[in-house]
């Protein structure tokens, strides 16, 4: 085990500052969530430390008032389509990028990197205009297409290193044994790719459910996912009770928390860039 990495017990001021920040950050986050949670469960909360009484009816109210059943369905449809399509388009491209070095490879990589480096507003507004001209403005197809813009490159950038670390000799061996390209993909590479695809797919799912700008620019009535509905509710205060907006925000948090826990159980967050060597 590491011996030299041990720090002296009397921590330096910088260490205190670092741990102090962590503690403050966690307490602040807890208080922040508590504030919203208490408000969403309170009856009336005016000039006091806590609300006058507690109730759960805001959740039912929010679900009915904002039509969350259909909103949830729309959210799931968009997210599922984006995950499936971005994997379908992205994984084959990652394979080509991982296995071949050809002239112009750097340029192709750059083309995939740029959508991730630009703010969504930059391409979201022109894209929304183009979608409108092609009568896709406000449609589910339009929202899905817009959300694919950062998702496809994201899949490619996460899957390329993943495929690079699969030994190419495995494919070569399969070929010597008489397997065709199709068989190699289905029987040999497919199973090896599943963990990477699961990780990339879950991260795309989390990103898509949380992606505000692109859905906001392209969605219309009836095709707004949960983030957009939530923003509209919060943006027009006074129209709905503040408690039912908070209830919806808590529902959104619950959904994201579920997705993130699922994602983290497949992806070790610290291994996103490089492999950790804890046990050397």
């Amino acid at each position: 085990m590491t011996v030299v990495a041990r720090r002296p017990v009397a921590a330096s001021p910088l260490a205190w500052l670092a741990w102090g920040f962590v503690g403050f950050f966690l307490v602040f986050m807890l208080a922040l969530v508590a504030a919203v949670l208490v408000n969403s469960l309170g009856t009336r909360w005016l000039d006091h430390w806590l609300p006058d009484g507690y109730t759960t009816h805001w959740y039912g109210d929010a679900w009915r008032e904002f039509g969350l059943t259909s909103v949830m369905l729309v959210t799931i449809e968009i997210a599922a389509a984006v995950v499936a399509l971005s994997l379908l388009i992205g994984v084959p491209a990652s394979y080509a990028l991982a296995r071949r070095s050809f002239p112009g490879r750097g340029l192709v990589m750059l083309a995939f990197l740029i959508p991730l480096l630009l703010p969504p507003v930059t391409y979201g507004i022109p894209l929304a205009t183009v979608l409108l001209r092609h009568e896709l403005g406000g449609t589910l197809t339009g929202v899905i297409l817009a959300n694919l813009v950062p998702s496809v490159p994201f899949v490619i950038l996460t899957m390329t290193p993943f495929i690079e670390q699969i030994d190419p000799r495995i494919e070569a061996a399969a070929r010597t044994l008489g397997a065709g390209t199709a068989t190699i993909f289905v029987r040999v590479l497919g199973p090896l790719l599943v963990p990477g695809m699961l990780a990339a797919g879950l991260l795309v799912l989390v990103r898509t459910v949380g992606m505000f700008e692109l859905s906001f620019f392209t969605a219309g009535p009836g095709t707004q996912p949960l983030v957009v509905v939530l923003y509209y509710a919060a943006f027009a205060p006074g129209v709905r009770a503040s408690q039912s907006i908070d209830a919806m925000a808590v529902i959104y948090m619950g959904l994201m928390l579920m997705l993130l826990v699922a994602a983290l159980s497949f992806v070790n967050p610290t291994n996103l860039v490089a492999r950790l060597r804890e046990n050397t």
């Binding site: 703010p119 929304a128 959104y252 046990n279």
Partner: protein, 289 residues
């Protein structure tokens, strides 16, 4: 012919790239170029550069660049700088590490609206924090924490820090601990080990972390409206782009603002990458891979 091409890595496997390249061309490149061309065909102003002239002539529009940078640069810098000592202390294995990481990453799930509503409830004039400050007699009147610059900056730290922290931790994991141990054997103290060994190896990764957090912060939009002062202090560039597109229905001006936004953003990215290019880039693993 086919074999000669194959020697350069060109064979049928490249066909797999086609869908992705076609997709990026049709859904990203084409709309982007369409917007670029559209931005030179002003609907309200004269001349091909009318939109751009108007943007830089009108302080209401022009100042949004400085306002956005004034929020995004400090937020991204803070997130990166705060991540380093915390990630450095968490690089080894210890009990509860996964839980602590999970808790630090949790804000990713909150969403802008919950963070905004929480900040307003927590830090508002009648919020818990002001109530405590008043009761303790530390202040006479409630402190204004939100609906201004600080509210938005705080949101950018809450949403950006977990991200910067995860990336930093990940880059630190890629540096072979053997290097530090070797330095210790040669008599380097903890401070020397960090500043002379780990930090220089980490710096290129920190540049990437800065870029990615900056990208997130530069696009700030909903929180600038909800916890900021969208008409003044936190009138960020996304807000004026949105207004041009959806309130004034001037797609041409909106595209021009979007292009300016992209240009400013890419300029910052290029500067940081340029600095990064001068840093050490090489194996950060040990000698024997």
């Amino acid at each position: 012919m086919r074999r000669r091409l194959a020697a350069h890595g060109i064979d049928r496997a490249l066909l797999l790239l086609l869908p992705a390249v076609a997709f990026v061309a049709v859904i990203f490149l084409y709309p982007f170029l369409y917007g670029l061309v559209l931005s030179f065909k002003p609907e309200r102003y004269v001349g091909a550069f009318g939109n751009y002239q108007q943007f830089f002539a009108d302080p209401f529009l022009r100042d949004t660049i400085a306002i956005t940078l004034g929020l995004a640069v400090p937020a991204a810098l803070f997130n990166v700088i705060a991540s380093v000592p915390i990630a450095y202390r968490m690089r080894g294995a210890f009990r509860g590490k996964r839980l602590l990481i999970g808790m630090l990453v949790m804000p990713v799930t909150l969403g802008t609206v919950l963070i905004a509503k929480g900040l307003l409830t927590l830090l508002g004039a009648r919020g818990w924090v002001n109530r405590a400050l008043l009761d303790l007699g530390l202040v006479e009147d409630p402190v204004r924490f939100v609906n201004n610059y600080w509210g938005v900056l705080l949101t950018l730290v809450i949403t950006g820090f977990p991200f910067a922290f995860l990336l930093t931790l990940s880059y630190l994991g890629g540096i072979d601990p053997m290097l530090e141990r070797a330095a210790a054997t040669l008599g380097a103290g903890p401070r020397q080990r960090f500043w002379r060994i780990t930090f220089p190896l980490l710096l290129p990764g920190l540049a990437i972390t800065f870029i990615l957090t900056f990208v997130l912060a530069f696009a700030v939009f909903p929180s600038a409206v909800l916890v900021g002062e969208p008409a003044g202090e936190t009138r960020v560039i996304s807000i004026v782009a949105y207004r041009a597109a959806y309130e004034q229905f001037d797609a041409s001006m909106a595209s021009a603002i979007a292009m300016i936004m992209g240009a400013v953003q890419l300029a910052v990215v290029v500067i940081v990458l340029g600095v990064r290019g001068r840093l050490y880039r090489g194996p950060s693993g040990g000698g024997k891979g």
